[in-house]
Amino acid sequence: MPRITFVEADGRTTEADGVVGQSVMAVAVASGIEAILAECGGACACGTCHCHVDAAWIDRLSPPSETEAAMIECVVDPRQESRLTCQIRLTDALDGLVLHVPATQY
C-alpha cells in the first residue's frame, strides 16, 4: 500500500494510504483534502486537482500526457513540478510520494 503525504497550503500534513492502480486524486478526496476539488471526477477535463510534486519526487513520475500538459498551462501557479493528481496512478514505486496542495484551484 503506497503511502502519500499531502502538504496543504496552511502547512497541514496528511498521510494517506492508497491502493496500487488508484489515482492520487482519489486518495486525496477519500482523505478529506478539500482543496483537491477534482470537479470532473478524474478525466483530465477541469484542472481542479492540481498539485506541486515535491522536488525529490518529480523525476520519478512519468511525464504528463499532451492533454494534461495543456490543462496544466491553465491552472493557477503552474510550475515545472505541476501535475494533475487524477493523472498519477499509484505504483509501489511511489510509496512515500510527497505532494504540495495549492491554496486554491482557481
Binding site: 478526496v29 478539500e34 471526477g41 478524474g42 477535463a45 477541469c46 484542472g47 482557481y106
Partner: protein, 411 residues
C-alpha cells in the same frame, strides 16, 4: 431494455413533478435497484455515488455508436424521434457533447483555453458594466419578473460576446437556442421537431456567414479561433458550425434557469440570503449551492460499451442509463441535510456540471455571471421579496422557474 415494470408511475411532464421533483427523486433513491423508464429505453440512476461513478467511467460513453449495431441504432434514432431531420443531425445531434474519445477530445482541445478560470475572470469588468446597466433599469420598477426582465438578458449576451456575435443578434440566438434545446426534452412532438430542424438550418446559415466575415477580417474572438482551427485542418466546417452552436446553446438556457431557481432559493431561505448579504465572501459557495440545490440540467444519459456494474448489479453492454443529477445532488449519503439550502456548504461535490470528459466547459463563465448578478442586486436593493410562488417548467431535462415575480426596494 429490461422488461421489468416501474415500481411507481413516473410522469416527468406532470405539474406535480414540476412543483417538487425532489420528493419523486427521494422515492427513486430509496429503491433497491435502478428505476426503469421504458419511454426512453433507459434505467434511471439517482444515487450520487452511482452517478459520479458512471460519468467518470470511460466504459460508459455518451453515444451508442460502436456499441449497438446499425439496425438497433436506426431503431433508437426513430424511438428518440431524431430521424428525418438532416440539419439537426449534422449540427446538433453531432457535437462535442454528443461525441466520445478522440473526436470529442480533438474538438474540446480547440476551445478549452477560452474557458479557463483566468480567461473567464478577464471578462468580469465587461459583464459587470452590462449587468449594472440592466439592474439600474430595474431600479424604479418596483415589481419585476426576475427571469424575463433580467436573467434572460445576461448569459446569451455574455457567451455571444465571447464567441464574437454582434450584441443585436443575441436575442435571436436565444430564441434559436431555446427552439433547439427544447427538442431534447421528453416531449418530441411533430411541431417541436419541425421547429428544431428549421432552426438548426437557419442557425447553420448564420454561422457560415459569420465565418465568412472572420475569414475577411479576423477578430480576437472564439469564432476567429474556430475558423483558424478549421483552416489548420483541426476541424471540418460541420464541426465548426456544430461547436459554435453548442457553445451558444449549452450554457445559455441553463444559466437563465439556475439564476431563477437560485434567486428563488434565496427567497425560500431568507436567513441564508441575509447571511450572504452580510458576508459577500460566501458568494462562490452560494453559487455552487444554487447549482446543487436546483440543478438546471438535471438529466443526461450514457451507454454501457461493455458489461458494467452499477450499485452492485451487473448490466449488459448496450444498457442506456439516464443520470438524474438533480436526484444525485440531493442524496443524503453525500450531502448533509441535503434539502437545506446552505450558502456556505463546503465541500460541495455536486454533479450539476456533469463529470468525466464532458465536464461543463463553461462552468466558470456561468458562475461568474451569477456572482455578478447577485452581488449587484444586493448592492442595489436593500430588500427583495417574492410576489407570488413561481411555477417551474414541466420537464425532465431542464429545471427552472418560468417566471419569478419580485418586489424590489432600492437601497
Amino acid at each position: 431494455m429490461p422488461a421489468q415494470a416501474a415500481p411507481f408511475r413516473f410522469d416527468p411532464l406532470s405539474a406535480e413533478f414540476a412543483a417538487d421533483p425532489y420528493a419523486v427523486y427521494a422515492r427513486m433513491r430509496a429503491l433497491d435497484g435502478l428505476f426503469p423508464f421504458p419511454e426512453l429505453g433507459m434505467l434511471l440512476v439517482t444515487r450520487q455515488r452511482d452517478v459520479a461513478a458512471i460519468v467518470a467511467d470511460i466504459r460508459l460513453p455518451r453515444m451508442p455508436a460502436g456499441i449497438l449495431d446499425a439496425d438497433e441504432l436506426e431503431r433508437r434514432q426513430r424511438q428518440d424521434n431524431f430521424h428525418d431531420m438532416p440539419n439537426h443531425a449534422r449540427f446538433v445531434q453531432f457535437s462535442m457533447l454528443n461525441s466520445d474519445g478522440a473526436v470529442h477530445d480533438r474538438l474540446r482541445r480547440q476551445v478549452f483555453r477560452m474557458f479557463t478560470p483566468a480567461l473567464i475572470a478577464g471578462q468580469r469588468a465587461a459583464i459587470e458594466a452590462y449587468v449594472s446597466r440592466l439592474i439600474s433599469d430595474l431600479a424604479g420598477a418596483g415589481e419585476v419578473d426576475f427571469v424575463a426582465d433580467l436573467a434572460v438578458h445576461v448569459p446569451g449576451h455574455v457567451i455571444g460576446h465571447l464567441l464574437g456575435v454582434p450584441d443585436a443578434d443575441c436575442p435571436m440566438l436565444r430564441r434559436w437556442s431555446e427552439s433547439i434545446v427544447q427538442y431534447f426534452d421528453v416531449d418530441r412532438s411533430a411541431e417541436r421537431k419541425a421547429l428544431a430542424e428549421a432552426t438548426a438550418a437557419e442557425f447553420a446559415d448564420y454561422l457560415r456567414a459569420l465565418k465568412a466575415d472572420r475569414l475577411r477580417v479576423p477578430k480576437d474572438d472564439l469564432v476567429t479561433r474556430l475558423v483558424e482551427a478549421e483552416r489548420a485542418g483541426e476541424m471540418s466546417e460541420d464541426e465548426f458550425i456544430s461547436t459554435a452552436m453548442l457553445i451558444l446553446m449549452a450554457g445559455h438556457g441553463s444559466t437563465i434557469d439556475v439564476l431563477g431557481s437560485g434567486m428563488h432559493a434565496l427567497l425560500r431561505f431568507p436567513e441564508e440570503m441575509e447571511r450572504l448579504r452580510a458576508d459577500p465572501a460566501l458568494m462562490p459557495t452560494a453559487v455552487q449551492e444554487m447549482f446543487r440545490f436546483e440543478s438546471p440540467l438535471p438529466f443526461f444519459d450514457r451507454y454501457a460499451a461493455e458489461e458494467v456494474e452499477v450499485g452492485g448489479t451487473l448490466y449488459p453492454r448496450g444498457t442506456r442509463f439516464g443520470l438524474l443529477y438533480g436526484a444525485a445532488n440531493r442524496d443524503g449519503e453525500q450531502f448533509a441535510d441535503p434539502d437545506r439550502f446552505d450558502v456556505g456548504r463546503t465541500p460541495n461535490r455536486h454533479l450539476a456540471f456533469g463529470g468525466g470528459a464532458h465536464f461543463c466547459l463553461g462552468n466558470h463563465l456561468a458562475r461568474l455571471d451569477m456572482d455578478i448578478i447577485f452581488s449587484t442586486l444586493f448592492r442595489t436593493f436593500r430588500r427583495i421579496e417574492l410576489v407570488e410562488a413561481p411555477l417551474y417548467k414541466r420537464s425532465l431535462s431542464v429545471r427552472g422557474p418560468m417566471a419569478l415575480k419580485l418586489r424590489l426596494e432600492a437601497a
